[in-house]
């Protein structure tokens, strides 16, 4: 029977390394997807995944007072992603050109692409959405990604970003208004 997250967290905070390994296994994909959406490239997303778990491991003694481990984990990942976003702005956007990805990742991507037009359409759509999201200030961008892309509720987003739910609503409203303007053409196509 699979262990519940609170049980794993308790065992991990008591020093059980196997519980930590299980938590990594359960959450690393979630962190990767979120980091990739925020940062838009594999290398930074990978850094967020690794650094998040390293930080959680270092803070294991604090975990006893943590009521929601998922929010705690996503908060660490989000804060680290925000730091990387600032660095990205300093050094310029990292390209997500598939040829810059590790060899095995390229193979995997090539294996799952059905047709060149699928690849093209996906890339164009993703690039367009990413460009639109990139125009938003980091808090609005992350709020929109957490809520509209990753599907977290407003109260969960408020917990992750440690802000009132009203702030989440306001940031989400502004982000959506801006995105509607930027993606007008794409939205019209869908209608």
């Amino acid at each position: 029977m699979p262990k519940l997250i609170p049980d794993l967290v308790e065992r991990f905070s008591d020093g059980d390394a196997s519980a930590f390994a299980e938590l990594v296994r359960r959450f690393y994909q979630k962190i990767y997807y979120l980091a990739y959406r925020i940062l838009g490239n594999h290398l930074d997303a990978d850094e967020v995944v690794q650094e998040t778990f390293v930080r959680v491991y270092r803070k294991r003694e604090e975990l006893r007072s943590v009521t929601n481990f998922t929010s705690f984990l996503i908060r660490i990942a989000t804060n680290y992603a925000i730091d990387l976003l600032r660095k990205q702005r300093g050094r310029g956007q990292v390209s997500d050109d598939p040829s810059l990805l590790p060899g095995e990742v390229q193979v995997e991507l090539a294996r799952r692409v059905k047709t060149p037009s699928d690849l093209f359409e996906n890339k164009v759509l993703m690039a367009e959405i990413r460009r639109a999201l990139n125009t938003l200030p980091s808090r609005q961008r992350i709020t929109a990604i957490l809520h509209d892309v990753e599907g977290y509720s407003k109260s969960e987003v408020a917990g992750i970003l440690e802000c009132p739910e009203a702030t989440v609503r306001s940031n989400l409203h502004i982000a959506r208004t801006k995105l509607k303007k930027i993606l007008k053409r794409r939205l019209a196509k869908r209608e």
């Binding site: 020093g15 390394a17 930590f20 390994a21 990594v24 296994r25 690393y28 994909q29 990767y32 997807y33 990739y36 959406r37 594999h42 997303a45 990978d46 995944v49 690794q50 778990f53 390293v54 491991y57 990805l101 590790p102 095995e104 990742v105 193979v107 995997e108 991507l109 799952r112 996906n122 759509l125 993703m126 959405i129 929109a144 509209d148 892309v149 599907g151 407003k154 609503r169 989400l172 409203h173 959506r176 995105l179 509607k180 993606l183 794409r186 939205l187 869908r190 209608e191």
Partner: protein, 188 residues
């Protein structure tokens, strides 16, 4: 419901947060108002578009490797027992450093107090320079200077007064302090 009211509820409707009654009222309005319907569709389409992005998947190899990398950077790199030792070492080092500072401060204070004590209880070097019966205290180091020919510290008159015992050279640090004749007469 007015258009203004409906527009303020559109996001709640798209996010499925409205009560059944309010949701129905919004839908009834949308069925009749094309402007609000356009806004609603635009919002709903945006949400669908954002949600429809393909999930980035770097592949099975990456998933396998990243878990190992994380464990290598955490559990394997820093076993709990070792971490406890490091913590203790840090504590011990800090404690030692504190005691070292404390001992250094105590030694400094002790040296200062000893110097003051010894200085206060040391008899000043005295030389009898008066021709009268009353001694005049003079530090031994100053005595040589006072009696040397080339000294410019005291002049002939002062030397005379010194000889007569009406000039007192005080304790170390206060050379050339003179005393009045009346005081000296009182001593005599």
């Amino acid at each position: 419901m007015t258009c203004c009211e409906v527009r303020s509820l559109l996001e709640g409707h798209v996010d499925d947060e409205l009560s059944a009654g309010v949701g129905r009222a919004v839908e009834e309005h949308l069925a009749l108002c094309s402007d609000c319907r356009t806004d609603h569709e635009s919002l709903a389409n945006l949400k669908k578009l954002l949600k429809s992005q393909p999930r980035p998947d770097p592949g099975r190899e990456y998933w396998r490797e990243v878990a190992s990398l994380i464990l290598a950077r955490t559990v394997e790199a820093e076993p709990p027992a070792r971490q406890e030792t490091d913590r203790e070492l840090t504590y011990i080092t800090r404690r030692r450093s504190f005691f070292r500072s404390l001992v250094a401060a105590a030694i400094s204070v002790l040296i200062l107090v000893s110097a003051l004590y010894v200085g206060a209880n040391q008899p000043p070097g005295t030389v009898k320079i008066s021709t009268s019966d009353q001694p005049v205290l003079l530090t031994s180091s100053l005595a040589g200077m006072v009696y040397s020919v080339d000294t410019g510290i005291i002049n002939r008159e002062e030397r005379l007064r010194l000889a007569r015992g009406i000039l007192l050279l005080g304790p170390p640090g206060i050379p050339g302090r003179s005393s009045g004749l009346t005081d000296l007469l009182a001593i005599w």
